[in-house]
């Protein structure tokens, strides 16, 4: 199983632990992830500026993977929705393929048939891989109570996906977590957005949203939160200290990327999963789990 790994902009700079743990888990499951050096920004940040230009930038990335005859795996949810949305547009909007090829022509690139794009989490939740994941579990998580945060662009807009998951009742991450012996909690506001996208425009609202979520997670008794997007991690992990300070709260909720938790269940070394790089310390959680 080979895929082009689409990292986007935020992960290589700010979420190396996500990248590290995804590579480790992929290796353990014999998924080959290939770096293509010419991938750029996915295009998502340009959507507010110009839908057409954002589409061209996404299309350029699709054409790069198509040339290598590789389908794409994303780790960031915004990249996931942007690239999938562009793919659907190319496949279904009349005249769009010609239009995008005209623009890509300036770069000597072109699209014939856009590659498939799948989020790493969604890939792991697929039948064969889920089975192989279950069989490789080495460390018992003992029903560890976890608050899952699906976030927005892993699921929405559902029109971006060929095989959309119901955004009102998503299940893929629940399935993965139960398969590795963790216990996903039901908590208030679980579908609420992290607020990351308004951080630059309205910091106050963004931190209100993140605070509300973290409080709900705490109240539900979660030992950790699991996320699958670097923006959500910026809000909940990197931002947690300043939220504690601003609202005079004590939270101390470790925020793990999904492959970090999976890696623990697979018996991988916490350091190779970058568990020392999360902002909220994971030490206590690891002691409980590994008994060291």
């Amino acid at each position: 199983m080979r895929y082009a790994l689409f990292l986007g902009c935020t992960i290589p700079a700010r979420s190396r632990h996500y990248e590290m743990s995804a590579l480790e888990v992929a290796k353990a499951l014999s998924i080959e992830l290939i770096y293509l050096e010419n991938f750029s920004c996915c295009g998502f940040p340009l959507k507010s500026y110009s839908a057409e230009i954002a589409g061209s930038v996404a299309g350029r990335n699709l054409s790069i993977a198509e040339k290598e005859r590789l389908n794409i795996v994303t780790l960031c949810s915004a990249c996931n929705s942007m690239l999938n949305e562009e793919r659907m547009r190319i496949l279904h909007e009349k005249g769009y393929l010609e239009a995008i090829n005209q623009r890509l022509g300036k770069l000597n690139q072109k699209i014939e048939r856009p590659p498939e794009v799948i989020h790493f989490a969604k890939l792991l939740a697929r039948g064969e891989l889920l089975e192989s994941l279950k069989q490789r579990v080495k460390r018992y998580l003992g029903g560890l109570p976890i608050a899952i945060h699906y976030g927005c662009h892993y699921l929405k807009p559902s029109s971006a996906f060929e095989d959309p998951e119901d955004p009102e009742d998503p299940s893929s991450l629940h399935t993965i977590l139960t398969s590795i012996g963790a216990r996903p909690l039901i908590y208030k506001g679980q579908k609420d957005c992290c607020g990351g996208a308004v951080l630059a425009f309205d910091e106050e609202t963004a931190s209100e949203l993140a605070k509300a979520k973290l409080l709900n997670v705490k109240e539900a008794g979660a030992k950790a939160m699991v996320v699958i997007c670097p923006f959500c991690s910026v809000m909940y992990d990197d931002g947690q200290k300043s939220i504690e300070k601003k609202y005079e709260l004590q939270l101390g909720i470790p925020v793990l990327f999904l492959p970090q938790l999976i890696g623990l269940a697979l018996g991988l070394d916490p350091k190779s999963l970058g568990l020392n790089l999360n902002t909220v310390k994971t030490k206590q959680l690891l002691e409980e789990l590994l008994g060291s």
């Binding site: 290589p12 590579l23 340009l46 507010s48 500026y49 839908a51 930038v57 209100e208």
Partner: protein, 139 residues
Amino acid sequence: MGSDLRLGTLCYGCGVCTSSCPIARTNPIFDPRQILRKIIVGKEDLYLENTIWLCSMCYNCQERCPQGVPVADLIFSLRNLSCRSGSVPQAINLQLDSIRASGKTYPLDEFDMKKREKAGLPRLKEKVTDVAMLLEENL
């Protein structure tokens, strides 16, 4: 993505968008139904209102609208109009500059590369420059 504002006329004002909106719940000056209202009555300078930049693009409204109004995409269209008229928020300009120069919103410098190396991650290309050509299109 980038939808025709005329789709807004499908709205019958039920308010499902607003009651599903995490931003409206937190910041009372933001109200997607109100934005739709203004689209329908043809408020011409709507794209210059600051509130269009408060949406977090979560798509709840769009998923739930009983009339199939692409609410979030219409807000994107208004933002596109604002940028086309020359009113581009500073945060967007910074991202444009960065993408123009490096193809990425977070350019990687030597310091990042060192950290990547330490984490056992491969070196990445610092700049992908041909993307800039795609940004030159007329808005």
